[in-house]
């Protein structure tokens, strides 16, 4: 029994997730009849929660298939699969512009964040810099900065240098806003790599740049991927910042555009629902593709933050 438990403990530590072959054994030996009810009530609660999560998404999706302009009530299965609302939202309501803007901003923010955070995390995580810990603490201090604290002067300052109503302005601020977490994440990663790797390469005469590029970067791929999807998500979902920095309707990102659209059209539910689905779909697809990175990022990222 003890051996099984030990084995299980080690697999849990190493894989950090999911069930292994040993699970069947332990379940059989430890579960007694009386607590079966307990387990089923646990699953029942999980299922209730899962339904509570799904129903709002389902209802907005079903509403988007209804004939336009018609009042929509409750959950109703569509008579026919009508994609006209999507066509109208995409063209007339301008959601194609919104998605394009969001993609431009995200594609600017993600690579820049990864590069800057890798460089800084590498130096702060592997080199013994004088005052390095203070610099790291300075970054970490920014982890809980709310957008509300910086958005007011940003509007006036960026307007003064012509960066309001530009993608560049939003991109730069978002990079800065996510930088505390990004640097922190990459520094944690590089600190965890064995120092002997760096040491050996240094003895071979490799420069610090070569060590990063040739030795450490190939090993950093999972961490970079997780950081990449998190930054993409934060950038895609950012609302207040874009609302303030961008007034030009054609440059707005998806959430900002949806927020505006809602203010103007709250009667045409089907088109609004289609727009909502359009705004959610890209990030949902990224979520499905990079599920693992997302879950590690959201759980461990929260843990380390």
């Amino acid at each position: 029994m003890k051996a099984v438990n030990d084995l299980k403990a080690t697999t849990d530590v190493t894989t950090g997730a999911v069930e292994s072959v040993t699970t069947g054994v332990t379940t059989k030996t430890t579960v007694n009849r009386a607590s079966r009810a307990e387990r089923w009530s646990g699953y029942a609660l999980l299922t209730v929660m899962a339904i509570a999560v799904v129903v709002p998404f389902l209802s907005v999706f079903l509403a988007s298939l209804r004939p336009a302009g018609e009042p929509v009530t409750g959950l109703a299965w569509p008579v026919e699969w009508n994609l006209a609302n999507y066509r109208r939202a995409w063209t007339v309501a301008g959601f194609s512009d919104l998605i394009r803007s969001s993609l431009v901003v995200a594609l600017g923010v993600v690579p820049a964040s990864l590069v800057l955070a890798t460089l800084a995390g590498y130096a702060l995580g592997t080199m013994r810099l004088p005052g390095g810990n203070a610099v790291a603490a300075f970054f970490i201090a920014g982890l809980t900065i709310p957008v509300e604290l910086i958005v007011v002067p940003l509007y006036f300052d960026l307007r003064a240098v012509g960066l309001t109503n530009t993608y560049l302005g939003v991109i730069l601020v978002e990079i800065a806003l996510f930088m505390p977490f990004s640097v922190f994440w990459m520094r944690t990663h590089f600190r965890a790599t064995p120092p002997s790797l760096v040491e050996a390469a240094r003895i071979d005469g490799a420069s610090s740049g070569t060590i990063l590029l040739r030795v450490l970067l190939p090993l950093a791929r999972p961490s970079l991927m997780t950081l990449g999807v998190l930054v993409f998500m934060w950038s895609w979902n950012q609302f207040l910042l874009v609302l303030v920095l961008i007034q030009d309707a054609t440059l707005r990102t998806a959430p900002a555009g949806l927020g505006f659209f809602v203010g103007q059209n709250n009667t045409d539910v089907p088109t609004l629902a289609a727009g909502t689905v359009i705004v959610m779909l890209p990030i949902m697809i990224v979520y499905l593709l990079f599920q693992r990175s997302f879950v590690t990022g959201l759980l461990q990222g929260a843990m380390k933050g």
Partner: protein, 291 residues
């Protein structure tokens, strides 16, 4: 030797410099600029005038601003406490067993967390409507009497907005605790069971202490989400009816860009940030001092 060491350090800082520059210019300086602006009476157009700490006095004296801070604290109940209790309950019921099939639940539970809060708000605004799903469901079970426009009702608006936060954050808290419980040494449960501990006793004395780290994180993340909330409130109620659901984020935006009171907006931003930092500090202190 000494100088080559220093040169190495200088080169090391070259790696840090780009990140540091962007962070300082576009986040740290604006934060300091906000603190500076909070000392002025400025409409955003004409020349501002120095008023010292008057704006801060106004934050705590003006009923609307005060109300927004109280509302933000009330939202903590729905954004933090309810999701954490839900997560703990689920974890308590499932902590003693290996859990096959968790992958699907995990996939679903994270979903509200990854989509834009604006989209979440738009969805709920419609679900809460006169003919929305919430009222439909109530009518279906014969509770016609209590149906209403939940977001437009003075008594229910704040609770309705809060429950949207509950919906968003419960899954995250549950997954955090379940993954934390996963790391608990199974022999601890074994020992507790040999001592004759029942499920409640076992949860309180084995599971809960092991989850202290996760609890601190869940509290931090959800409290920041509640206090700095903007997106959900902006699209569901925009602060109404009256000032029932006004939150500080909404007022910072409104004061600075519609009402032309940049100084007061800045002061509120600073107060909000101090509140967040203070609470995060307390939570982290408590979670550490007990270990």
């Amino acid at each position: 030797m000494e100088s080559s060491h220093r040169r190495g350090a200088m080169r090391g800082y070259l790696y840090v410099l780009p990140a540091l520059a962007v962070y300082v210019v576009f986040a740290v300086l604006p934060a300091l600029h906000t603190a500076y602006l909070s000392l002025f009476d400025w409409d955003g157009v004409t020349l501002g005038s120095w008023v010292g700490l008057d704006n801060y006095r106004e934050v705590f004296r003006n009923p609307v601003l005060l109300r927004s801070l109280v509302n933000a604290l009330a939202l903590v109940v729905f954004f933090s406490f309810v999701p954490i209790l839900t997560g703990l309950l689920t974890t308590a019921l499932l902590s003693r067993y290996r859990r096959p099939g968790m992958g699907v639940y995990r996939l679903l539970f994270m979903l509200p967390q990854i989509v834009p809060l604006v989209a979440v708000g738009v969805t709920w605004r419609w679900l809460y409507g006169d003919d929305g799903l919430v009222n439909e469901a109530l009518r279906a079970v014969g509770l016609d009497g209590i149906t209403r426009a939940w977001l437009g009702d003075f008594d229910t608006a704040l609770i309705a907005v809060g429950l949207v936060g509950t919906w968003v954050l419960s899954g995250l808290c549950t997954m955090l605790f379940l993954s934390g419980v996963h790391k608990v040494d199974p022999s601890l449960y074994e020992a507790a069971r040999l001592d004759g501990a029942g499920p409640v006793r076992e949860f309180v004395s084995v599971t809960l202490p092991q989850l202290r780290g996760e609890l601190a994180i869940a509290l931090t993340v959800t409290m920041v989400a509640a206090l700095a909330s903007f997106d959900i409130v902006y699209v569901t109620t925009n602060g109404g009816p009256g000032e029932q659901t006004t939150v500080p984020g909404l007022l910072v935006y409104r004061l600075a860009f519609s009402d032309g009171d940049v100084g007061l907006a800045s002061a509120l931003g600073v107060v909000l940030s101090c509140l967040i930092l203070g609470l995060v500090y307390v939570v982290n202190r408590l979670s550490r001092s007990e270990t």
